[in-house]
Subunit: 227 residues, 2 copies
């Protein structure tokens, strides 16, 4: 809505216009505030809504750890929900390809949905490669500072490739998948994140349950497991 347009409308209506806003391509939209807010929902749930953003290479164990975390929190009576990059591509993001701009849009939308779930009071766990710092930072910026908990699954490429649970590294090496993270597209490790999970320490492997417990300790220490 440009200024002349706005003036005309103001003359016409003399009210309400200041409340209408333009966001991106959306014009004439009004923000509706509801009396039941996040903290009310948190009281019912006895927890704080937040986003646990798990990032790491394909095959690093993101989904496995997301499940272990969900199971362990559930056993404590906490409400969690997993947004898995692959699963969301079956629904909300089924229109998106793996081209650079679509991968970015994929992450943006998941960030927005994670924000809604956290606002609903849910402990939302996301599980997607999200290789670029700028995309992760954009999702972080959607939430109150402390409610975005970035978890870096720090597993060496060689280990992920040896596991290759979906056979995707093999396809990428054969040139049948282009732009595959770690092979012909970069993974940018987080500069500063809340939690680093190193699945391999020397020759020892950190179990999914141990990894989950590390995240839960963080949540407990920071007050997320109470209202």
């Amino acid at each position: 809505m440009n200024l002349i347009h706005l003036s005309l409308i103001t003359l016409l209506l003399g009210k309400n216009v200041r409340d209408l806003s333009t966001n991106g391509n959306s014009t004439n939209i009004l923000w509706h505030e509801c009396p039941i807010q996040k903290h009310d929902r948190q009281k019912i749930l006895q927890q704080k809504g937040c986003v646990i953003w798990i990032t790491g290479l394909s095959g690093s164990g993101k989904s496995t750890i997301a499940c272990a975390l969900s199971r362990s929190l559930h056993s404590r009576g906490k409400l969690t929900y997993i947004l898995d990059g692959d699963n969301i591509r079956h629904g909300l993001n089924r229109d998106l390809s793996f081209r650079a701009e679509d991968r970015s849009e994929n992450i943006r939308r998941i960030g927005e949905v994670a924000k809604l779930l956290a606002d609903a009071g849910v402990i939302c766990i996301t599980s997607l490669i999200s290789p670029y710092q700028k995309d992760r930072d954009a999702c972080r910026a959607l939430l109150p500072k402390e409610d975005f908990i970035e978890v870096f699954l720090d597993v060496p490429l060689a280990v992920c490739e040896a596991r290759d649970p979906k056979g995707l590294y093999k396809l990428a090496r054969a040139g049948m998948i282009k732009g595959f993270t770690g092979i012909d597209d970069p993974y940018e490790p987080p500069c500063s994140c809340e939690i680093v999970l190193q699945q391999i320490k020397g020759s020892e492997c950190m179990s999914p349950n141990n990894a989950a417990e590390k995240v839960i300790s963080y949540l407990e220490k920071n007050g997320y497991l109470r209202a």
Copy 2:
């Protein structure tokens, strides 16, 4: 992924390939199943996740009733979350305009998010005009049959236009908003929906609380307010 491509991959890997699927533009995606499912979350919440889809003209009172419903359910200890068409255009759908195809995409995405919230166990209340039957039906089709509860706010255009809470009818009549539902774009009333709320009966006005109670009776009767 075409057949020849698939055969090559099968030769190369000899495994996993059947589990990879193509959805829309998304290829090589695997569905991850997690041990914590909807019914587990519902046990924690002592309710059933569902979508209450409120449809009606601009100014028919969708947001007001969504809020009254949320307040009343909250007072019974139930977890609700409102997806308001306008609010979502500030975030997830900020890239969408009001052109026909974008309005349709707006509704599709909100339907997908509502589905995720219902799967999380939340009673999700949507509040958007959603004027076309086919868009509403597409959202209904995303959910188990009984979990999509369509609520038609049946308020005559003349009443909505007289209220004109955002001044949008005035703008539409002045030709400053094109394709405005009820003015120069059709509203298709639901053919068959679960609940009809007639806000005006003769000269009497149904209060938002009465409207909310009517929806809550439906939820109670159909078992949504217990696990």
